[in-house]
Structures are given as structure tokens and as C-alpha cells.
């Protein structure tokens, strides 16, 4: 449809996005993109990457405006009237979204949505239309039976495939992808990345792929741009940018992904921090008609004093249930549950005992784990409540805990909304430390944080472990972090341990097929990485039907 020339398909220069009259949220952005090329934009939340993409499809939030120039195939996108946009959207520019379930119409079948999207751009009817819909599904690796299904009946990976098929229904030449794998499991993420890469090659698409995860972007992009606070700091070929980042922020971003802090083995005492035998976790009180739903089916875990045990697995596999059970938030029973050699009662009532307070937990979302109405002092005081300390002593301990996590006493009077994400997570850790725990459970504590902050929090955990002899039970999905933490690892699938051992050994030589899939799907930043590896790693993906 467009003329094949050496000139770029998309040339953006001086792009400014923001509310008229206010400071722009995207400043002076420029790049060019040719057919068959993937540009990855990486940035932390608030960096302006999503706004950039929204401006390119004319769907900025109400009231926002874009200025500058965005030449797409001979016309300036930023001066298009609404009718002009309608001719471009779907037909020339397609878009893939972060949350696939939310991006699909829950009231229409996949087939109906596909047919509607195809009809919007191509004069097809009846059998031709149906055939085209089937063809599109096949292209994204879904069987034609999916045509009759409603979105909620699909798995996350299948939903994202459907969203991609919809984006391709008008045969666009530019594809915009807004964090398309963030809501997905690592294994599914790898499949979607491979699919996108293949589509770019087979259709000669130009694509803008944005993500907060440099590792993900490195896996798909030819060119990487680093964005920070509305500005494009630098851009360049992926391998070059990863090996020689020129800007200091880019360096810290790359370093945060690759060089996780060194992790020395702490001295190990005789008595294990946690000895757990045959833990069973189930939800639902088991009312008159309802059976309690068992999610963890008898697992054994050991964490040596001052040691680390990582628990990894797909979401919904029971990782977090183990964490919640150990702090009395889920109905659980076990043959043996000992903390530092002392038996610990499970269940909510057991939390009142001294031994139970020696197990503490830090949650995934730092914002959700602090009551927005409480000051940091009130938040911390909750941990000390049961001790009934005099006011001065309580205050002293709280300040000490804040100092220990790298914040100071001046934070006591702040409210959570006055803190950054990393600071909130530090407060949550300080709160957990106040009861002098033997074992600290970290339930996905890094996943809600930006990459540079992740590295800082990891460094903090590393220090705490050395200084306090604190044992860690680390629940996570990022194998890079697990590798850095060292110690042991337990791989959980569907509520059972399928493999465990030394972290280094298990990750290097996974024996169980589930572990092998996890390791294969791992996204890591390495300068040697090249696109051809995708095809080499996932030969089976070509045109295959994937369970998702």
C-alpha cells in the first residue's frame, strides 16, 4: 500500500504532549522508524512513554494536546481532523494494549469483534469474512474454535493473541504496543514476544513497543530509546545501548537489570529459621454448601538461619498462598511448623504468640500495604502495639527501624502519599523489622517497583541479612533476582513443589519440564542477545497452537 522507499515510515520531531498551559509531560521528543523495524521505548512510570504512543493514535486523555510534528507516510498525524484519524486507526496504525481482558468487549464473541474490525476496513462479507477471521486467528496461533468464545473464557495469553489479531484486522503497517506483556506470566510473555517479532518480520511491520522492563524491550527491539520524565534521553541500536549506555540514567537502568548487588553468604547457625512439613493451604471457610478450596497440597520447606529460600512459579500456582499461610492470613495446617526451633501455631489467632511475631511479611504493593490515612509513625506503631511499650521507647525503636532501612526519623510524620514507591516499601520493611523477626517473607516485593528502585531494595535486603542474620523467604518470578540471591530455590507448580535445590544449580540445569520452561522464558539483558535467538529458542511456536 505504501511506496517502498528508503525514507522512514514515521518521523517524529519536537513532539510535546501535555495539558495546554501546563508544563508538558512529554518534551521535545524525536525519532524515526522504518518498515520492519521495532523501536522499544523504556521508561519508568510517569516517563511519558504511554502518552507518546497515545498521541500517535490520536487517543490522548481528554483535554491533552500534542504539538510538534509526526510525519506518518506523508501526512502529519498531529494536525489530523477526526475523520482523518478514523481512516488511519486500525487501517494504517494498529494498537495492542496492556490488559488484554479489559481491551476486549465482554459482550461480544471473539469472532464478532474480529468480523466487526475487518468490516470496518475491508469490504468482505459472509464466507469471505469468516475465512478472513479464521486466517487472522491462525496467524496469531489460535484455533478457529476461538471465534465462538467470549473473552472471559480465554486465558491471558489467548486474550492477548486475540487483541493482536484485532489490531492486525485492518492490515496496518505501524503497530503500537503499550506494555503488551506486563499483565502476563513470564512463560506466556516469552510466547507473545516471539509472536510479535514473527509478525513484524512476516508482515514487514514497523512497531513501537513500550515497556518499563528493559529486559523485555531488549528482547524484541532493534532500537531502544530510554525515556525519563518526558524526555528521550538517548536512543540507539539495542546491543550498543545495552553495552555502552552513554547517559548516567541509562547506565543505572541497565545496571539495575544486569548487575544485581553482590550477595554474600551469611553465617549459618545450627537451628533452621523455618522448618515446615506437609503444609496444606485452603481458602473458603467451608460453609454449609461450599467445600474449602485447597491450593497448596502438602509441601516441605526449610530456610536455614540467615539463609535464603526463593519460591518461584507461575501466578496462581500457590506461591503467595504459602506466604500468607505462614503469617496467619490463610487457613492452613502443617505437620511441623517451627521457627528457630520453636513450634509456631498457624492461623489468625496464632498471630498473638511471640513465636509467630518472629515471622514477618512485606507485601507486593507498597501503596496498598500502608493505610493512606495513617502517618508513618502510626503505621509503625501498629507493629509495636502488642508490646505496650512506653511512648519514648516506642519512638526510639521506630526511628531506629527507619534509620536501618535508609530513611530517617523525619519521615515519622509523613503520610504515605508524600512518599515514593521505594520509600513506601522501605517503610513496610521497617515495620516488619520492628518485631525483630527471624524470618522475613518477601512476597513479590520488587514487582511493583521501577527497575532502579528494585536494585536499591535488593541492596537493602542484602545488608539486613548480613547485619541481622535475617533469613529470607523470597517469593518472586524474576529468575535474575533469584540467581542473585543465591541460597536455595523451590519451584512450585499447581500447589506442589516440582523441583528444589541450590539456586545456582537448579537454574543452570533445570530438570523438571516446568522449571525448564520458566528458565527458557527468562528475560535478561545481555549485549550478545540477538533477534535470531528468538527463532532458535522457539522453533515450536511457528503456527503452533499454544495453550497460553
Amino acid at each position: 500500500m505504501s511506496i517502498e522507499t528508503a525514507s522512514p515510515l514515521l518521523r517524529i520531531s519536537g513532539l510535546q504532549v501535555g495539558f495546554p498551559g501546563a508544563a508538558p509531560l512529554v518534551r521535545d521528543l524525536g525519532f524515526t522508524l522504518s518498515k520492519g523495524e521495532v523501536l522499544g521505548l523504556v521508561g519508568e512510570s510517569g516517563s511519558g512513554k504511554s502518552l507518546t504512543v497515545s498521541a500517535l493514535i490520536g487517543l490522548l486523555p481528554d483535554g491533552m494536546a500534542a504539538r510538534g510534528s509526526a510525519m506518518f507516510d506523508g501526512q502529519d498525524l498531529l494536525s489530523l481532523p477526526p475523520q482523518g484519524w478514523r481512516a488511519l486507526r486500525g487501517r494504517r496504525i494498529g494498537m495492542v494494549f496492556q490488559d488484554p481482558l479489559a481491551a476486549l468487549n465482554p459482550f461480544m464473541t471473539i469472532g464478532a469483534q474480529l468480523a466487526e474490525a475487518i468490516k470496518a476496513h475491508h469490504p468482505l462479507r459472509g464466507r469471505d469474512l469468516h475465512a478472513r477471521a479464521e486466517e487472522l486467528l491462525g496467524e496469531v496461533g489460535l484455533e478457529r474454535t476461538f471465534l465462538g468464545l467470549y473473552p472471559h473464557a480465554l486465558s491471558g495469553g489467548q486474550q492477548q493473541r486475540a487483541v493482536i489479531a484485532l489490531a492486525l484486522s485492518g492490515d496496518p503497517c505501524l503497530l503500537l504496543a503499550d506494555e503488551p506483556t506486563t499483565a502476563l506470566d513470564t512463560v506466556v510473555q516469552a510466547q507473545i514476544l516471539a509472536l510479535l517479532r514473527r509478525l513484524v518480520a512476516s508482515r514487514g511491520l514497523a512497531a513501537v513497543f513500550i515497556s518499563h522492563d528493559l529486559g523485555v524491550v531488549a528482547r524484541i527491539a532493534d532500537t531502544v530509546g530510554i525515556m525519563c520524565q518526558g524526555e528521550l534521553l538517548e536512543a540507539g541500536p539495542t546491543a550498543q545501548l545495552l553495552s555502552e549506555p552513554s547517559h548516567s540514567y541509562s547506565r543505572s537502568l541497565v545496571a539495575a537489570c544486569r548487575d544485581l548487588p553482590g550477595w554474600e553468604e551469611a553465617p549459618i547457625a545450627d537451628v533452621p529459621a523455618l522448618r515446615l512439613r506437609n503444609l496444606i493451604v485452603s481458602y473458603g471457610s467451608g460453609g454449609l454448601f461450599r467445600q474449602p478450596r485447597q491450593v497448596v497440597h502438602g509441601i516441605d520447606l526449610d530456610v536455614p538461619a540467615g539463609g535464603v529460600l526463593s519460591v518461584v512459579g507461575a501466578s496462581g500456582g500457590g506461591k503467595s498462598s504459602i506466604a500468607r499461610a505462614l503469617v496467619g492470613l490463610a487457613g492452613a495446617k502443617a505437620d511441623v511448623c517451627e521457627i528457630g526451633g520453636v513450634s509456631m501455631p498457624l492461623g489468625p489467632r496464632g498471630r498473638r504468640s511471640d513465636v509467630a511475631q518472629r515471622v514477618q511479611i512485606v507485601f507486593q504493593n507498597p501503596t496498598a500495604s500502608l493505610n493512606p490515612r495513617m502517618t508513618v509513625a502510626q503505621v509503625l506503631a501498629e507493629a509495636l502495639r502488642r508490646l505496650g511499650l512506653p511512648r519514648g521507647e516506642e519512638q526510639r525503636r521506630m526511628v531506629a527501624a527507619l534509620d536501618e532501612v535508609g530513611l530517617g526519623g523525619e519521615y515519622l510524620r509523613r503520610f504515605p502519599h508524600q512518599l515514593s514507591g521505594g520509600q513506601k516499601q522501605r517503610v513496610a520493611i521497617a515495620r516488619a523489622l520492628l518485631t525483630e523477626p527471624t524470618l522475613l517473607i518477601c512476597d513479590e516485593i520488587l514487582s511493583a517497583l521501577d527497575a532502579t528502585v528494585q536494585a536499591q531494595i535488593l541492596r537493602l535486603l542484602c545488608r539486613l541479612r548480613l547485619e541481622r542474620g535475617l533469613a529470607l523467604l523470597f517469593i518472586g518470578h524474576d529468575l535474575g533476582v533469584v540467581r542473585t540471591l543465591g541460597g536455595s530455590v523451590a519451584v512450585i507448580e499447581a500447589g506442589r513443589i516440582v523441583e528444589k535445590g541450590r539456586a545456582a544449580e537448579v537454574l543452570a540445569q533445570p530438570r523438571h519440564s516446568f522449571t525448564q520452561r520458566l528458565v527458557a522464558a527468562e528475560v535478561s539483558v545481555s549485549p550478545q542477545w540477538s533477534q535470531t535467538q528468538v527463532a532458535a529458542e522457539y522453533p515450536g511456536l511457528q503456527r503452533a497452537v499454544v495453550a497460553g
Partner: protein
């Protein structure tokens, strides 16, 4: 099969609800000191034997539970007793009143719903027109101006001052007044829901796909508001019933409202009992239908 289980359960609950309400009414009426026989006895001279016979006749002998079960058995058989005031079978009076009430309430509700839909959609499409302000105003109107006040004003203005006499007994004015009230309750939450639905990711996705705006509105924005619309409708049912009674009383229309209000002032308990049961049955039935519609329109709940 599974889809019908919740339906069965909600029907069962509805029946239990009606039985409970009916029983409570029964208890309340029996709790009032002095029954009809006492009243009649005070007016004329009835021997104790006559009083007892009358009690048996009116189903007022035995314990309350016995009376209730007997009443229920007869009610199921279609016998709701005799009106104490008019001496006519209650079932006949109720049967006569139901159609006009249903016609009136349905007319007012349909008018209100259509008006609310038109206003909300208009305000959504044309945010710079006076329509959003109109939605706001009609909402305030429905809260601040009770239907009977509006009705009185209409009678004053049209019937008394302007002399267009046939306002009393005519259905147009009360339907418009009650319809405005319903529209005021529905339009604003509906508009808020539509505005929110328009920001939903799947709406954005459809626009990004280049789907025609009219199709986006019809297939993506509107269906999302159906559950809310159904919930709102079943909430406004209460005020629809109250409004219908008020309008019937004010404009002298025949119907369940007039019937029950006269029954209260005349202590005609068999009629009161029957009308309350019919109204409760109606409310519960409509709620069950709304619940069913919500399930059927949402594929996630159909499975």
C-alpha cells in the same frame, strides 16, 4: 442447567420474601388493639355468641398462626376474604384495580426511562449543549419536588386558574409528573455511568481499531451500562409505587393506591392485607426479572 440454578434460588427467595412480608402484615394488623368485631360490637348490640359467630365468619378465631395458615390456604385458592366495608369479595376489588395501576405505572416508567435515556445520551454526545445542565436540573427536581407537590401545582394551574377542567381523572398530567420524577432519578447516574464506560479500555481499543463511533457507542459503551440501568430501575421501583399511589389519590384515579389508602382510613383489613400482598408480589417479581435480565445480558454470568 447451571444457568438456571441461580434463577431457581432467586425465585425461591422471592417467594419466601413475599410470604414473610405477608405474614408481617398479618401480624401487624392483628396487633392493632380492637378488631372489626369489637368496632361493630361497640356500634350496635351483638351478643357474645353473635360476636363469636362473626369472628368465625371473618376468620378471626384461633391463634394468629392458625389464622394466617387458613388465610394463606384460602388465598392460594383465590379467596382473599370479604371487604368489611363494602361486603364484596376482596379478590374482585383487587382484580378490578390491578389493570389501571399497571397501565399507569408502566406508562409513567416507560416515559421516565425513555426521557432519561434521551437526556443522558444527548448530554454525553453534546457536552457543550445545555443538556448536561438539564440532566442536573431534572435530578434536583426529582429530589426536591415531591410528586404530590408537582401534582398539586398542576391542578392549581391547569384546573383552577386556567380552567382546563379535565385534569382530575385524566391520566396525562400524572403520567408526565411521575415520569419526570423517574427520569430525574435515572438520568444522572446513567450519564455518569456512560461517561465512565466511555473511558473503559475496550472502548479505547475499539476506537484505536477505527470502528465507527456509532458502532462504538451501541456495541461497546451502552452494553456496559445495562447492569447499572437494571439496578437503577429496580431501585426506582419503590418510588414508582409510592408515586403511583400518590398520583391515584391526588388525581382521583382508580387503582391499587386508592384502594389501599381507603382501606387504611376505613380499617378495611382484608383489603389492606390483599393489596399489600399483591404489591409485594409485584415488587419481588419485577426484581427477579431484573436479576434474570442482568444474568442473561452478561455472557460472564451466563456461563
Amino acid at each position: 442447567m447451571r444457568a438456571f440454578l441461580p434463577l431457581g434460588i432467586s425465585l425461591l427467595r422471592a417467594l419466601v420474601l413475599v410470604a414473610t412480608i405477608t405474614f408481617i402484615v398479618f401480624l401487624l394488623i392483628r396487633a392493632v388493639p380492637g378488631d372489626v368485631v369489637d368496632v361493630l360490637a361497640a356500634q350496635g348490640d351483638l351478643t357474645p355468641a353473635q360476636q363469636a359467630a362473626l369472628r368465625v365468619d371473618l376468620g378471626l378465631d384461633g391463634t394468629v398462626a392458625e389464622q394466617f395458615l387458613r388465610w394463606l390456604r384460602q388465598a392460594v385458592a383465590g379467596d382473599l376474604g370479604q371487604s368489611v366495608r363494602f361486603g364484596r369479595p376482596v379478590i374482585g376489588m383487587v382484580e378490578q384495580a390491578i389493570p389501571s395501576t399497571i397501565v399507569f405505572a408502566a406508562a409513567a416508567f416507560s416515559f421516565g426511562l425513555c426521557l432519561a435515556l434521551v437526556l443522558a445520551l444527548g448530554a454525553l454526545m453534546a457536552p457543550r449543549s445545555p443538556l448536561p445542565a438539564l440532566v442536573e436540573a431534572i435530578n434536583l427536581w426529582s429530589i426536591a419536588v415531591p410528586t404530590f407537590v408537582a401534582g398539586m401545582a398542576a391542578i392549581l394551574v391547569f384546573s383552577i386558574w386556567l380552567g382546563w377542567l379535565p385534569v382530575i381523572g385524566n391520566m396525562v398530567a400524572p403520567v408526565v409528573i411521575l415520569g419526570l420524577d423517574i427520569a430525574g432519578q435515572l438520568a444522572k447516574p446513567l450519564l455518569e455511568e456512560l461517561r465512565e464506560a466511555r473511558l473503559a479500555p475496550h472502548v479505547r481499543a475499539a476506537r484505536a481499531r477505527g470502528i465507527h463511533p456509532v458502532l462504538v457507542a451501541a456495541r461497546y459503551v451502552l452494553p456496559k451500562t445495562v447492569p447499572v440501568l437494571l439496578a437503577l430501575s429496580s431501585i426506582s421501583l419503590a418510588s414508582l409505587i409510592g408515586g403511583t399511589m400518590t398520583m391515584e389519590a391526588l388525581f382521583g384515579l382508580p387503582g391499587l393506591g386508592s384502594l389501599v389508602l381507603n382501606a387504611v382510613s376505613g380499617r378495611d383489613y382484608p383489603v389492606l392485607q390483599a393489596v399489600v400482598m399483591v404489591l409485594a408480589l409485584g415488587v419481588v417479581l419485577i426484581n427477579a426479572v431484573a436479576d434474570l435480565a442482568r444474568r442473561l445480558t452478561d455472557p460472564r454470568m451466563r456461563a
